[in-house]
Symmetry: C2
Subunit: 281 residues, 2 copies
């Protein structure tokens, strides 16, 4: 499928993609590009990449596919830096959790090469040690071509997602960002806030964490994720996320009003609306 793939950022997603590419023989050679030789050496040991380079310039040389798999701010920087380095036929894609800003920059600096994408296979784990060749199986892989995206290159990224077992969803970048604001970024904000509140309350109620129910464990699971990573994602998608957060606050205010006025019927209808949204899907 590919001759030489350069993966920039060999963490959970980049590393897992390398493992999948190598195990399924989808590329003749997988080059890891990163800053820390120790992490890259580990990625070679784990079978995520064939070899590595610590310079972007040499790392992407001769690659027909370049996958940007660093945190979002670094993806934005690397798109600019890649501009003078590309072969004409090369495809550049990314795995960033937000798409509007990345795709805008990609179309500006890599107009005939860039295809935005977002394999939704992250977890609260990080690093190539958590990588798995089957990470993308049954995951959703969003591809966000626009009118300016070369369609043959978009199709190649679709084929890559299919080849590693993902289900492809095509969306425009802004629709992607509005959707993930609700289905991914907002849940992280909620989890960090719940964990923070519990931490604060545990100062005055020392047994509070002893009473952590399964619902608390689920509700704070992703608060174990990297605060830096999620800060970057949330800032990159701040418009759509702030909009979702305001709408969410309105939902909470409905419940609060029902509790303050001790209105069981109204509270039931609030809960039922939530219940019916997810049950049977």
């Amino acid at each position: 499928m590919f001759h030489r793939v350069a993966i920039v950022g060999v963490g959970l997603i980049g590393g897992s993609l390398g493992m999948a590419l190598r195990q399924k023989r989808l590329a003749e050679e997988v080059i890891g590009v990163g800053r820390r030789p120790e992490a890259l050496t580990r990625a070679v040991e784990l079978g995520a990449i064939d070899r590595f380079e610590t310079s972007l310039v040499t790392g992407v040389q001769g690659a027909d596919l370049i996958v940007l798999a660093t945190p979002v701010p670094q993806i934005l920087t690397d798109i600019e830096r890649l501009s003078p380095l590309l072969d004409e036929n090369a495809i550049v894609t990314d795995v960033g959790s937000t798409k509007r800003d990345i795709v805008q920059l990609g179309e500006r600096f890599l107009p005939r090469a860039f295809v935005g994408s977002h394999p939704m296979a992250g977890s609260e784990k990080a690093g190539v040690d958590a990588g798995r060749a089957d990470l993308f199986e049954n995951a959703v892989w969003v591809v966000t071509p626009t009118d300016a995206t070369p369609s043959a290159k978009a199709d190649k990224i679709v084929a890559l997602g299919v080849a590693v077992g993902s289900r492809i969803v095509r969306l425009d970048p802004e629709a992607h960002d509005r959707a993930v604001a609700v289905t991914s970024h907002l849940p992280h904000v909620l989890a960090f806030a719940l964990a923070a509140l519990a931490g604060e309350r545990s100062q005055v109620e020392p047994q509070l964490f002893d009473l952590a129910a399964g619902s608390f464990a689920s509700g704070t699971r992703v608060a174990r994720s990297s605060p830096e990573l999620w800060r970057d994602i949330c800032i990159a998608n701040r418009d759509a996320l702030a909009d979702a957060l305001r709408a969410y606050r309105d939902e909470l205010d409905l419940s609060l009003t029902c509790l303050e006025s001790a209105d069981p019927e109204a509270l039931l209808s609030v809960f039922r609306r939530g219940h019916d949204s997810v049950v049977g899907r």
Copy 2:
């Protein structure tokens, strides 16, 4: 440990307790008390109870332990109804998710018999078919004796919790309610609200649920729970829960302000506070 145990309400918790009592031979006889003979017949088939009665009066006759395992409003009703029916040595306990109102009523109507407790082993599943004899193993079992509770009877409930494998936490009823408002009831309100918001947004963004990440699945897991059951619990604990919900809204407003002002450093410190509250615990 017990001669005859009457379990009023043979659902997930009541049924699992019956299974544990019978498998561990902690009671000579376990009687299920309920309204629906079909469900009680199923409970006999599943080994949760030895036999059943559909009348509270005959069901609790001769029982030295009575466990109230119905939803909270029914527990409150049954405490009043039990008042004239008890043997002097009988112990009455409950498994309700809130304790202040239940313990107050227990001390009023069953002053020498009642011991409040709350085995924290519920899940989004319901009914005796989801019951398991090992449901209480490694769960927290809160016992809420007050100055008015006969200490020998409180100790017997502690011993019951230990015998089924739980870790005992002793708390006063109001401290229990404040803690579970944050660690159990609030996470349910948040999950119902997130599910409701997603349901609403999916009307205009039809592919929204396709983009549901693992964080969304965790954040809405308990929205699959019974809206009626959680309405009852939240109304019963409305004071502590409304207080927790207001504090939570303040936490969210911090994140929202950071997003609206595009302040990455402040957002990072909000996320970090949540992260550090749960990691390493």
